[in-house]
């Protein structure tokens, strides 16, 4: 079991700070589940910047043939280098807060290990643990002790993922959760909170973020793959076709995820796109969506996927409720969605209905991403690529 003290926060990097890039390319950002990975790498050339992205399925355990295929996919996508920062978007990740007695750091870690064993459904010895101290600004005044957010994942899952990534030539120096990857780039007004929803291929992360700090994160055990299977079972369409239908809702039919093994996209961004990205959570992609997505499809999605999306909305409400109840009461101001389903209108609708907040895709808030682009599906990977801290392990 590994557990280490959270390091001092690094100064927040710029939106696409050249300082965070080594040479003409950033490190490789990875969003990974058990079988799907999404990759993103930022490039800078002649004052312009853009992204190389790819998404493909990896099989575990990795066979020799699939290793070569993985490397070939990286080369085909134009992603070069080995150093990577990965966000584990998997239902195996447990995130839970703990309030501990005020003790020195060593004793704090011992408390965390002891208390984490009560929370986990598997022995703590089989877990990889890390924790982050919640910021004082978020805590209730007068409270004693330290409140930490504990992140845990089964060692076998982490080991298998790292082995898979290593087999295709990626050396992961830091393993995060989706919310931790998004937080440094999640622009909210100082002192205000926001809700980030990141739908991955196998899991969906819901997190409350305040001043670039994650206050709580929940990871639901379904993602694009599961929703596509539900849709497939109900509509009788191939799952790959359903994936395409769900991701087509982003408004770019040609650029949507497909059942092809690799989707490598190059997203050159104009210098204006970085400026436009400063506006947080103010996008309104409804017009483009209404052109690309027929209304009956939205109705069908809402009907078929309603329970899952409702669960997501309720989980989001529960997260905000936890923060309001146990932390300092600060109302959330925005809900930002990332991932391949970020433009799914029924999801927006359900969340807005449940929380009473505007929910929109996070395109502009992410570094170098244009609003409404397919690249939003790789937002977590992109944030990992521009992770402001050092990539190596502590």
């Amino acid at each position: 079991m590994s557990i280490s003290t959270a390091s001092l926060p690094s100064p927040r990097a710029g939106r696409l700070a050249g300082a965070s890039l080594r040479g003409a390319r950033s490190r490789i950002g990875v969003e990974a589940g058990e079988s799907w990975i999404r990759l993103a790498q930022c490039w800078v050339k002649g004052g312009r910047h853009g992204w190389q992205t790819a998404a493909f399925q990896i099989s575990a355990p990795v066979r020799k043939g699939s290793r070569a295929a993985g490397r070939a996919r990286l080369r085909a996508a134009g992603i070069r280098g080995t150093e990577a920062v990965c966000a584990l978007n998997s239902p195996y990740v447990d995130v839970f807060p703990l309030t501990l007695e005020p003790r020195p750091a060593e004793a704090l870690e011992a408390q965390i290990v002891a208390r984490a064993g009560e929370q986990l459904s598997y022995p703590p010895g089989e877990a990889v643990l890390d924790y982050a101290l919640l910021p004082q600004a978020a805590l209730r005044p007068g409270g004693e002790g330290a409140t930490v957010l504990v992140f845990a994942a089964p060692r076998r899952v982490v080991g298998a993922l790292l082995e898979s990534l290593e087999s295709i030539g990626l050396s992961v120096g830091r393993l995060l959760t989706p919310a931790c990857a998004l937080a440094p780039h999640f622009a909210t007004e100082p002192g205000s909170r926001g809700l980030a929803v990141c739908t991955g291929d196998e899991a969906t992360s819901v997190a409350v973020i305040q001043d670039h700090e994650v206050l709580i994160e929940r990871i639901l055990p379904w993602g694009l793959g599961r929703l596509a299977e539900l849709l497939s079972a109900e509509l009788g369409l191939p799952a790959a076709q359903c994936r395409r239908l769900l991701t087509r809702a982003q408004g770019q039919p040609g650029a949507a995820d497909s059942d092809e093994p690799v989707q490598a996209q190059r997203h050159p961004a104009s210098p204006d796109s970085e400026e436009g990205g400063k506006e947080a959570g103010t996008s309104a992609p409804g017009a483009a969506r209404s052109l690309a997505t027929p209304e009956p499809f939205d109705c069908a999605v809402e009907h078929i996927l309603g329970p899952a999306l409702q669960e997501l909305a309720q989980e989001a409400a529960a997260c905000l409720g936890y923060c309001d109840s146990f932390l300092q009461h600060i109302p959330a101001k925005s809900v930002i969605l990332t991932g391949p389903l970020a433009h799914l209108a029924p999801m927006h609708q359900l969340i807005e209905n449940e929380l009473g907040l505007h929910a929109g895709p996070a395109g502009p808030v992410l570094p170098g991403f244009t609003e409404g682009g397919e690249a939003l599906g790789h937002a977590v990977a992109a944030c990992c690529a521009l992770w402001p801290g050092e990539g190596g392990a502590r």
Binding site: A6, F151, A153
Partner: protein, 195 residues
Amino acid sequence: MTSINLVPADIVRGRAARARMRYWGRWIACALAAIGLLYGGLSRLAVGSSSEHRRLNGTYSVLRQDLRAADTLIQRRDDLHSRCQAIRTIRLSRPTGALLRLLARTLTPTSYLTHLSVERCPPFASESGSGGDRCTGQLRMRGHAGGHGDVGEIIRRLEDAQVFTTVTLVGVTEPAGAEETEGVAFEVVCTLQAD
């Protein structure tokens, strides 16, 4: 910024160990390559040195044979020189007959010899010796003379002959109970001059 890392510490350590192994592996590979290059260079040098050694060895063998032949020739020359010297010595040495004729001339009418011995040095022995070890020819004679005057005359004549280096009268004795007219016995040793 929530900074966490779920990469297990043992994997990080293993990765660092592999990196160290790769680092040292590269160094070892470089060292082996350098040693290989050095070995190759030295081998080429050794091949050159070996061929040079073989060539010199061949030359040395030829020279050694020549030297051995020269030694044989020198030995043969020395042998021949010795033989020539011996022949020359024999040729130049005074014959015994001449000595006897000389002794006959030195004796007085009343004297005669009862014993005569001549010891001559082998060829070159008189030249090769040094100091006291030098070989000298010697003539020893014993005889009777009419009186002491005759003995003196014999010694004088021997010295005048210029054949002997030294003439030494070993002794003169008168026979006990004999009369003065019966004469005396004498013994003389002469050293022969070297040839």
